[in-house]
Amino acid sequence: MSAQEFVHASKRLRDDHAKDWQRYEQLLDRIERRGIGTLGPAEVEALPALHRLVLTSLGTARSSVLEDGLIRYLETLAARGNLFVNLPREGLTRACLRFLAVEFPKATRALRGPVVLATLVFLAGTIAGYAACAVDPSAFHDFVAPGLAGSRGPSSSTEHLESTLYDTSGSIEEHLFFSAQLYRNNSQVLLLGYALGLLFGIPTLFLLVMNGAMLGAFAWLFASRGLGVELAGWILPHGVPEIGAILLGGAGGLEIARAVLRPHPEGRLVGIGIAGRRATMMVFGALALVFYASFIEGIVRQTITDTATRYAIATVHLMALLGWILLAARGPRKHAR
């Protein structure tokens, strides 16, 4: 071959395609700076072809070009383009709706084992709390922190206990403020129970047992004064979503603990990742429940004092929650990708 015919492979590739690479580069710059919305329709349409061209150029460069700088340039460009190609397409609203209608109930059903376990642990705590108080009334204060017990305790009069169930004092603003506080505290407890699954689930179990025991202690206190039915009416309207949320958060923590204790074949971290992703969908739902429960607790409980109505609300909540988790998004998968 004569000297005049020879052209370096890198020069040949540059001569053929450099204009297109640079055009793609400029389009990506604009997408990164100002969003894809600023591109004209013709430019949007040109993107996939430009991306494929860059990938092809990269293939050629890797196999026949010796100039490292050019290969690195094309690698960077292809990597940037690949990110853009794989950006989430789904809007926020759609993602939220899909979460509520599909992801949450499906994740919760898939994790029924931990949910049942969390429920049993919670119930065991409740029974233990009740029994311990029945044996020794002073145990009440071991299970219920002074700030939460307030003026209620084994030494309170029955009349006083009854009055706390129908307390409607305070303005709507105060109720709202109370709701905000409840939401903050409860969501914090929920997230702790979930994340502390990482510590072999021990804090999670502890939180479940203690919450159960607190419920048991209250149940004993009011039942021993013949106020059991009234107490249930007071607790259940917000208790169904709130306790439900605690159980789901705890179940998420237990699922993570399971992955910590029984390593996945591909490695413990891989297993924790898989468990965490599955559990997180459920815990998000639990957060929404906590939010809802706080409003019920802060406002509805303080305004509706009729026990029958309270039971009706609790029943509706229970049916809706169970129906949502057990029935939603059954049937053929429509969202498979």
């Binding site: 000297a3 005049q4 020879f6 370096h8 890198s10 020069k11 540059r14 450099a18 580069e25 494929r52 990938l55 293939g59 026949s64 010796l66 100039e67 490292d68 700088g69 050019l70 340039y73 690698e75 960077t76 460009l77 990597a79 940037r80 690949n82 990110l83 794989n86 950006l87 989430p88 397409r89 789904e90 926020l92 993602a95 922190a145 002074p146 700030g147 939460l148 303005s171 709507i172 603003e173 709202l176 403020f177 709701s179 905000a180 506080q181 939401y183 969501s187 914090q188 997230l191 702790l192 994340a195 502390l196 990482l198 804090p203 924790i272 990742g273 965490g276 992703r277 997180t280 969908m281």
Partner: protein, 295 residues
């Protein structure tokens, strides 16, 4: 001469088209800086809310703001990354981006998960520690003490990115994501006289002289040429040119003088690339000097 920077951690993926690509994992320092930037903006928002809260007498406004503040603290990072598709404000400034570890589509759930865990690692323990005294009064010393210990454990989780080579937070671990630096590289000018017509140069090399080096040495030479673009030739260029000239025992054609070091290297690089391309076409690509040619 053969100093190469320490290999940065990479996220290696294969695209749907079957092309292997890699991303540079962002350093812990960059991540921290991005987080501080985001946090600073958040704190500004919170201060504005705080001022509004202080200025109002209404319980309703206070209640709603208190809820908003909490939601803002919980959702600030997630909302940003969802809205800006994997880049919070701080990440934008530092050219960082959240990507899915398989290089596939980054799903909104993944962004929610990794940011919810950020609340667990940072917001929740901080709130526990900041409200410690208040909590001790409501729930008792023992329980608030236990909470403080938990807060410490949660804060300790923040050390994970320092240990993990892929710099994953717990959130990245659960969400299956990585944070990468997406640098911009401009198309570099070709090094040396590649592209110039080879016949123009008066510096010629024999096949034996061109057979001495492999691809690795060629790339090292490319780096040297890129570092020294001016024709004048630095000390490094003179040193490298002299080393090569001795190694391949090159002498100028009779009756000509020694060329300038830079001119010599440019010509040698162009001739070497051409020689190796021809060899590669015959299946004789060689990675290092002294290797036996493959094939």
């Amino acid at each position: 001469m053969a100093r190469r920077p320490r290999q940065p951690a990479l996220l290696e993926i294969v695209t749907r088209e079957g092309v292997a690509l890699s991303y540079q994992i962002a350093s812990t320092g960059e991540r921290l800086l991005a987080f501080l930037l985001d946090g600073l903006v958040l704190i500004c928002f919170l201060i504005i809310f705080g001022l509004a809260l202080g200025a109002t007498e209404s319980m309703a406004v206070a209640a709603v703001s208190s809820m908003l503040v909490w939601t803002l603290m919980m959702g600030w990072f997630a909302a940003q990354e969802l809205f800006f598709r994997g880049r919070s404000l701080g990440k934008r400034v530092l050219h960082l981006r959240v990507v899915s570890e398989d290089g596939g589509q980054l799903r909104p759930e993944a962004l929610l998960v990794r940011n919810m865990l950020k609340q667990m690692e940072i917001t929740v323990p901080l709130v526990i520690l900041l409200t410690f005294r208040e909590q001790a009064e409501t729930v008792g010393e023992a329980q608030s003490g236990a909470q403080a210990v938990l807060a410490g454990v949660l804060l300790a989780l923040n050390l994970l990115p320092f240990i993990d080579r892929q710099r994953r937070r717990t959130g990245d671990l659960l969400a299956g994501t990585r944070v990468v630096r997406v640098g911009r590289v401009r198309l570099p000018a070709p090094p040396g006289s590649v592209g110039a017509t080879p016949g123009q140069t008066r510096i010629a090399f024999s096949g034996d002289q061109l057979d001495v080096y492999g691809v690795y040495e060629l790339r090292t030479l490319e780096d040297v040429l890129r570092r020294n673009r001016t024709q004048r030739g630095s000390a490094e260029v003179r040193e490298v040119a002299e080393a090569i000239r001795k190694r391949i025992a090159w002498e100028p054609a009779p009756g000509t003088s020694y060329p300038a070091a830079k001119e010599f290297l440019d010509a040698f690089y162009a001739a070497l690339v051409r020689h190796m391309e021809e060899r590669a076409r015959r299946g004789l690509r060689r990675e290092h000097q002294g290797d036996r040619p493959a094939g």
